[in-house]
């Protein structure tokens, strides 16, 4: 047998190896490269530290999550006490509207920040120009594994622009809303709009208010 193997032509042997390797490479490369498993791990203790990540489950807390809500009546650094000063009531909405002024100076920089935050957080419903015609209020269609279907339209919010002259559900024209009223609405939400307090911090909310007040002038 050994002799026979040695007798085997070198060229033939090489081509046999080539065929074998390419066949193996092709068969092992089957599939679209997506997998339900994370595969093999080498020394996992080095990859996953003992310390908890914020989004990890955690049995040390009653609700089983690592990220906890701050205790009541505490103000975390960088947060604000608007929620303690003004409640989510029509009366406090009016009061915020009368008492609060935008603490940030109207500068090009602040307006640019406000525009960016507005485009990210508000434009999807309120529209890029504040006309209340954002992308999810329009007719749209998706084609995926469940076939082609229409998606539900989100109701149009009223436009801010003076030229459109829409009314606020709490009275008055949208174009006349004061800074405090807009801030109150971002903080608590109103009607179908949810609270955006967790997505924008104090300064960011005032930057958005500043930009919305620019839109009101149009």
């Amino acid at each position: 047998m050994k002799e026979n193997m040695l007798v085997m032509n070198k060229k033939n042997f090489l081509s046999a190896v080539c065929i074998a390797v390419s066949f193996a490479a092709v068969t092992t490369a089957c599939g679209d490269g997506k997998t339900r498993s994370t595969g093999l791990e080498f020394s996992p203790n080095m990859y996953d530290a003992i310390a908890y990540n914020p989004d990890q489950p955690n049995n040390n807390f009653k609700n089983g999550s690592t990220a906890q809500t701050p205790p009541a009546n505490t103000t975390p650094v960088g947060f604000d006490k608007f929620g303690a000063d003004y409640a989510n009531t029509p009366a406090d909405y009016e009061r915020a509207g009368a008492e609060l002024v935008n603490p940030l100076p109207v500068t090009k920089e602040n307006l640019a920040k406000g525009e960016h935050l507005y485009l990210v957080n508000c434009a999807v419903c309120h529209g890029k120009d504040g006309k209340g015609d954002g992308s999810i209020t329009k007719d749209r269609e998706v084609t995926d594994s469940r076939g082609t279907r229409k998606l539900e339209n989100f109701p149009n919010p009223p436009a801010y622009l003076r030229s459109v002259a829409a009314n606020s559900s709490r009275g008055g024209a949208m174009a006349d809303l004061s800074a405090g009223k807009i801030y109150h609405t971002i903080f608590y939400g109103l009607n179908t709009m949810g609270s955006h307090a967790s997505q924008l911090n104090n300064d960011e909310r005032w930057e958005v208010v500043m930009y919305v007040q620019e839109l009101q002038k149009k």
Partner: protein, 425 residues
Amino acid sequence: MRNISSVLGRLAKSISISLVLLFAVTMTSNAQDAKEGAALFKSNCSSCHKIDKKMTGPALAGMSERHSEEWLVKWIKNSGALIAAGDETAIRVFEEYNKVAMPAFTQFSDDQIKSIITYVKDEEAKAAAAPAAGAAGGAEKSEANSFMIIGMAAILILAIGVIFILSRITKTLEKVIANNQAAIDAAQVRNEAYEESGKVKFAQKFLKNKKLVGFTALMVVAFLAVLGWNTMWHVGVHQGYQPVQPIKFSHQVHAGVNQIECQYCHGGAFKSKNASIPSANVCMNCHNTITASDHYDGETSPELLKLYRAVDWDPDTRTYGDNQRPIQWIRIHNLPDFAYFNHSQHVSVSGIECQTCHGPVETMEEVYQYSPLTMKWCIECHQTREVNTDNKYYDKLIEAHEKLKKGEKLTAAMIGGLECGKCHY
């Protein structure tokens, strides 16, 4: 059977046609009003009211039966005044909807308000006509069903016929076998012996052919080697990882079709180390209204019910309970804890698009890890990427260098030596 269903179908069709005609007649008489009403409804009412579903305000279907037109006009013009005047119905509606005040529409004329009411009535009638049309469709379907039943009966009869013929054939064959038993037995023995020797012969032939044996062994070795090589290279690399998530959330729908910015939900990406998974209240910003019920026969989508359970939301009263349970999303991109990566540094400072690392997420119905997230992959990008120096960090750095050049004193504190995190991290 076919007769009955077709008669029923015809009946349902004629009823639905007459209904549609009836509505068409009523609609044409009010067409002008309804058209004006539709425009007014869309621009003034639709952000709080739907015809068939409760939103911020009540569902409007049936409002003309619940209230007189006179009352409705008064209410729409100035609901606040009606409540203040002590109107009982007005106060009851106000209390029922968590005392959410409906804005006054004093700018509307009585005719304009009446046109809105006409529009709502028309829409109601259309919604009522839809199930009738559906019934007609159903009758057509049952017609198709009876056709199928006839077809199946024909196939059944055919099958029984075939079975009968086959059984006759087997009976005759059995008779033939019984007549020639001895000859058949002898033939069978010969046949078995031949087959056995054939198998052995084949194996012997294969083993004798050393080239073939060598090649087969080589194939097996090469296959295992390539498989092993690939496995080793992918230890700890999760590229292509696509776990099944607890809720079938489609990025294709949300980021692609709806054009919601990545940072609307992953708001940490531009201001913190983590891009952050949105808490469920962010989902509820839209899904307090959007229930996808169009695709589930008017019921809320089962995937959205999972979300409602997580935040303990009651769609009927539109309030939250306090039995919240976090959604346990499965993490896809997981850097080992010994590697530091900061999202804000890449997104805000460098201005890198999310898709550069995460791939075309806006087309992914089910998200998978696009990049390998290996050290080689990081380094390959860092070797060519030009730094964006237009920020305060580099301003300070250049300032410090200028000071050094001039020979001024520069303490550790002046270059951030007093930051807590320099020692306590």
